[in-house]
């Protein structure tokens, strides 16, 4: 079922937590709400689930406006951050709870309940634990019980609040893959909240990035990673370095050097040049390349990372390399960003203090006409 949020506002007292959120999850889509803590993502999820009422705007399930629907009738599968399992009930009773709560007319009988619960437990690979109590299960098992319990009511949508937040790294990875499988098998429209970008990038069909109560960007993991719409997204997802530059009629200048980076847009003024450590090439000394002083080289898995400082302000820049660079501490390297973006600095000042003013991109992908973010491939 398709899920549509239209102009969702939420205030808690004077604080505005959500600001005109427009978002659509396509039927069967796995959509991640990604953002730092306090960005309003959990509040948004709770509004979608009916646990919280929006101050303005509406939530549509399919074509049905859910405003005023009691939560009991929404049929949402909500998995809470700490699972909120019923501690005094066995695993079986936890999963059966939603079935027993149904109105008498539609409630399945005991045999059907038993069959359904065992079917769900085998879906989440927890056969044989039905007589146990939640406190006797590991974190990963509890999480799967919570999921089975949410799936029992055949929900219209599945909402997961930080589903892997409380698990250790190994279990996390395993469960991620497994949640994806469950999602593909059930075909449910799923929204999940996370602050972990790796989780979002790996798991989601699309990612909605939230920042200070607004949607910063909505897009596929590739779009988010390669074409960040705002400086916030650029820095929040993946790693990036930022150099203060001047732009003159589309030409990028760094401390008196004309870099051979040409913006497609003809713009001028102070800006920040952002690029990722992976998108940097080491080149021979050249007036259009940027010189960097090596601080050290560390191995990151199969690759190497060169930590450098650049320019008068000794800006930290990280460069990734496939081969071990032949660079001692203090040596000077030259590099060129291969993929980069410019963000205008609203107020000249300390680097990165002010992100370039950026229009919130609307959901349907029609980007703001402002020349806020200008990408280029050198």
């Amino acid at each position: 079922m398709q899920l549509k949020l239209e102009g969702i506002d939420k205030h808690f007292g004077k604080a505005q937590v959500l600001d005109r959120i427009q978002l659509e999850a396509r039927s069967g889509e796995l959509l991640a709400l990604l953002g730092p803590s306090g960005s309003g993502k959990t509040t948004l999820l709770r509004i979608v689930g009916g646990l919280e009422q929006p101050s303005a705007g509406r939530v549509l399930y399919g074509n049905d406006d859910t405003s005023g629907w009691p939560i009991q009738q929404r049929r949402v599968g909500f998995v809470f951050q700490n699972y909120a399992l019923f501690r005094h009930m066995s695993v079986f009773e936890n999963v059966a709870f939603g079935l027993r709560a149904q109105a008498r007319k539609v409630r399945p009988n005991e045999t059907q309940i038993r069959a359904r619960v065992h079917e769900l437990l085998s879906l989440v690979r927890l056969e044989g634990t039905h007589t146990r109590y939640p406190t006797q299960l590991s974190g990963g098992q509890q999480q799967r019980v919570a999921l089975a319990r949410a799936l029992a009511i055949e929900p219209r949508v599945l909402l997961l609040d930080e589903p892997f937040g409380a698990l250790d790294a190994q279990v996390r990875k395993e469960l991620r893959r497994w949640v994806r499988q469950i999602h593909d098998r059930t075909g449910l429209t799923t929204l999940f909240v996370t602050h972990d970008q790796d989780e979002a990038l790996e798991l989601a069909d699309r990612i909605a990035i939230m920042h200070a109560g607004k949607l910063a960007q909505v897009g596929t993991p590739d779009e988010i990673f390669d074409e960040p719409a705002t400086r916030f997204v650029h820095e929040f997802v993946g790693e990036s370095s930022a150099l203060p530059v001047d732009v003159d009629a589309g030409r990028v200048w760094f401390e008196g050097r004309a870099l051979d980076l040409i913006s497609r847009h003809d713009l001028s003024g102070a800006a920040d040049l952002l690029f990722r450590p992976q998108h940097v090439a080491l080149v021979d000394a050249d007036s259009s390349a940027i010189p960097a002083r090596v601080l050290g080289v560390v191995r990151v898995g199969a690759r190497f990372r060169i930590e450098t400082e650049v320019g008068k302000a000794a800006t930290r820049v990280e460069i990734e390399s496939n081969v071990k660079p032949d660079a001692a501490r203090g040596a000077i390297l030259h590099f060129k960003p291969l993929r980069w973006k410019l963000y205008r600095r609203a107020n000249p000042g300390p680097i990165g203090s002010t992100a370039l003013a950026v229009g919130t991109p609307s959901i349907d992908g029609e980007n703001s006409p402002q020349y806020s973010a200008v990408a280029g491939v050198a």
């Binding site: 939560i71 929404r74 949402v76 909120a84 406190t135």
Partner: protein, 335 residues
């Protein structure tokens, strides 16, 4: 009369310590000086044991807990001196003049009526508090509203207030010419100087016990449990019956037991509003005082013995029930 002098409450006091950390209410609060002394004494003795076990760092099978034998000996000695000794004295004293005298005083019709009132009214009051105390606790835990702190402090007032003050205040309100009484009297409802009055006084006295024991457990439970039940389609009643109540049942039972025990031993607030008519509104603790005033110490002890055994039996039963409910709820299965 302060409640820490009350043999029944003394019993409760120890019972709570057996309950250990699960029981959030500390009955040796900081309300009266007597309590403070008791608390200090308690802490002092505890420190002494800890110091004693620290001075000789023995190997306790790898456990960081002080040795079982040492703490057990301490516990037994402490309980012996603080609880068993006085109670034993009461027991011995009660039979000082033989079974005949004991039966004459402690099992007289008047005494039986008094037991019935004391235990009956305490039970009714405890049940009323079970319902409304739970409600108060729930509101205090789940909602944030402007005067919450104030309301929260108000809950403790019945413990802090000298019981006589409570009794006088209640009497003033419910007497035939009182604020509430004047409206009820024409309707034929009499509260002051009847068993109903006794119940009302005991409800007043017992409220904090239920609220304070249930509150932390409710807070610990979190609202997510109620929310998840709602998303699964459960209405308020089902959520209460199948999610909330089972989870808080052990704590609620503790609170009710405390309120009940307090009610059985309550004296100060009751004697003003009860009217103290033999056979109808005379409570057992008053009967003890009456015996004392007649210099019949043995008779007083005899009545105390009966109250003591009844209280102990009932509290033991509640304790067992609590253990059973905890096991049934899967709490005992905690690995």
């Amino acid at each position: 009369m302060n409640w820490y002098l009350n043999p029944n409450l003394k019993l409760m006091f120890n019972w709570i310590h057996f309950e250990g950390t699960r029981t959030p209410l500390d009955p040796i609060g900081n309300q009266t000086s007597g309590d403070a002394i008791a608390a200090r004494l308690h802490v002092g003795l505890l420190m002494a044991t800890l110091v004693a076990s620290a001075t000789r760092p023995a190997y306790h099978g790898g456990s960081v807990l002080p040795g079982f034998r040492r703490s057990m000996v301490f516990t037994l000695v402490y309980l012996g001196v603080i609880v068993m000794l006085p109670l034993a004295a009461v027991l011995v004293r009660g039979f000082d003049e033989g079974l005949g005298h004991f039966a004459k005083v402690a099992l007289s019709d008047r005494a039986l009526a008094a037991y019935k009132l004391s235990f009956g009214a305490a039970a009714v009051a405890a049940l009323i508090n079970a319902v409304f105390g739970l409600l108060v606790a729930w509101v205090l835990v789940r909602y944030r509203f402007p005067a919450r702190r104030l309301l929260d402090a108000l809950v403790d007032l019945p413990i802090a207030l000298p019981t006589a003050v409570a009794g006088i205040a209640l009497t003033a309100i419910y007497a035939g010419n009182g604020w509430v009484g004047q409206w009820l009297e024409p309707l034929g409802i009499k509260i002051a100087f009847t068993p109903t009055g006794v119940v009302i006084a005991l409800v007043f006295i017992g409220l904090p016990f239920v609220v304070r024991t249930v509150e932390p457990v409710l807070a610990d439970l979190g609202k997510a449990q109620e929310e998840v039940a709602a998303t699964l389609g459960a209405g308020r009643w089902m959520t209460f019956r199948r999610v909330l109540l089972p989870a808080i049942a052990p704590a609620l039972l503790t609170g009710v037991a405390l309120a009940f025990a307090r009610g059985v031993g309550e004296y100060g607030s009751v004697i003003f509003i009860a009217g103290n008519m033999p056979y109808t509104s005379e409570i057992a603790p008053l009967l003890i005082v009456i015996q004392l005033e007649q210099y019949d110490y043995v008779g007083a002890a005899a009545i105390a013995v009966v109250m003591l055994s009844l209280s102990f039996t009932l509290l033991l039963a509640i304790n067992l029930l609590q253990g059973w409910s905890r096991r049934r709820m899967g709490m005992g299965a905690r690995a």
